[in-house]
Subunit: 155 residues, 2 copies
């Protein structure tokens, strides 16, 4: 690896660190979008809203969370009345999760808040640079997934 590569790695690190802080990704009890909903719950509801009924392990895979964590998360969501644990014909071990009407409403509101937050973010990026930023993030995500040692092995 050359000097330039190291410089790039350091630059990348600084940017990502800065972004995490600036975007408020540290607050567990609020989404960065300002909604007073715990982040993890927002993520879970979002997945369920987008991709219909899921089992807990499917959800855990998407969120990259351990099954015990998912179990608790789901309990919180059912307690909130947003998610229902529905039994289905077939494998009786599986717990199928689906949003309740309340959950769908909440998911919608969260989506709106999120869109507003990201729209605000976009407004602060020069218009001509926006597609570039999005493409760059795509590359970054792919790279993260490809270079992920810990996450894939865990769980």
């Amino acid at each position: 690896m050359s000097e330039g590569d190291l410089d790039q790695a350091l630059a990348l690190q600084a940017r990502i660190t800065a972004f995490v802080r600036a975007f408020g990704l540290h607050q567990p009890d609020r989404t960065p979008c300002g909604t007073p909903v715990p982040t993890s719950e927002a993520h879970a509801v979002g997945e369920l809203d987008r991709d219909g009924p899921l089992t807990q392990s499917m959800l855990g895979e998407r969120l990259r969370l351990e099954k015990s964590t998912v179990s608790r998360l789901v309990s919180q969501l059912t307690g909130r009345g947003w998610v229902r644990r529905a039994d289905r014909d077939g494998d009786a071990r599986l717990v199928w999760l689906e949003l309740t009407p309340d959950g769908r409403r909440a998911a919608g509101e969260l989506a709106v808040a999120r869109a507003a937050r990201f729209a605000a973010l976009l407004r602060n990026i020069p218009a001509e640079q926006r597609p570039v930023v999005i493409d760059a993030l795509t590359a970054l995500v792919d790279a993260a997934a490809a270079s992920d040692v810990t996450g894939a092995a865990r769980g």
Copy 2:
């Protein structure tokens, strides 16, 4: 805001969400770089290593953390023997923080691990795209800072 803008906001949201998950930013007790050091401690040590002695409030400002959180964080670090609370001439309210020799060593090791992790990330991005990605992240960080409502007002 046009339709295209909304699409872009959604795309941006999806990418960032995906990155947070893929990069393992959810683990509080490990850095995403694989070191068994709590993330917040790693951040604090990094700041102190880079920018010399800091007061607690200065550190909190950089990390975007509330003063009580910083106080506890610093206690952990002193307990670990990485940070020293040094008194200095001048304002007696201020607590100046500096790394111990052990702390400097730890900071170095963390920096190495971090660099390795980010280098791995970079390797999975086509070489010609790397500068673009870094520039894009810069724009993103600036935008996040500019569009930050919650963070600036908090604390």
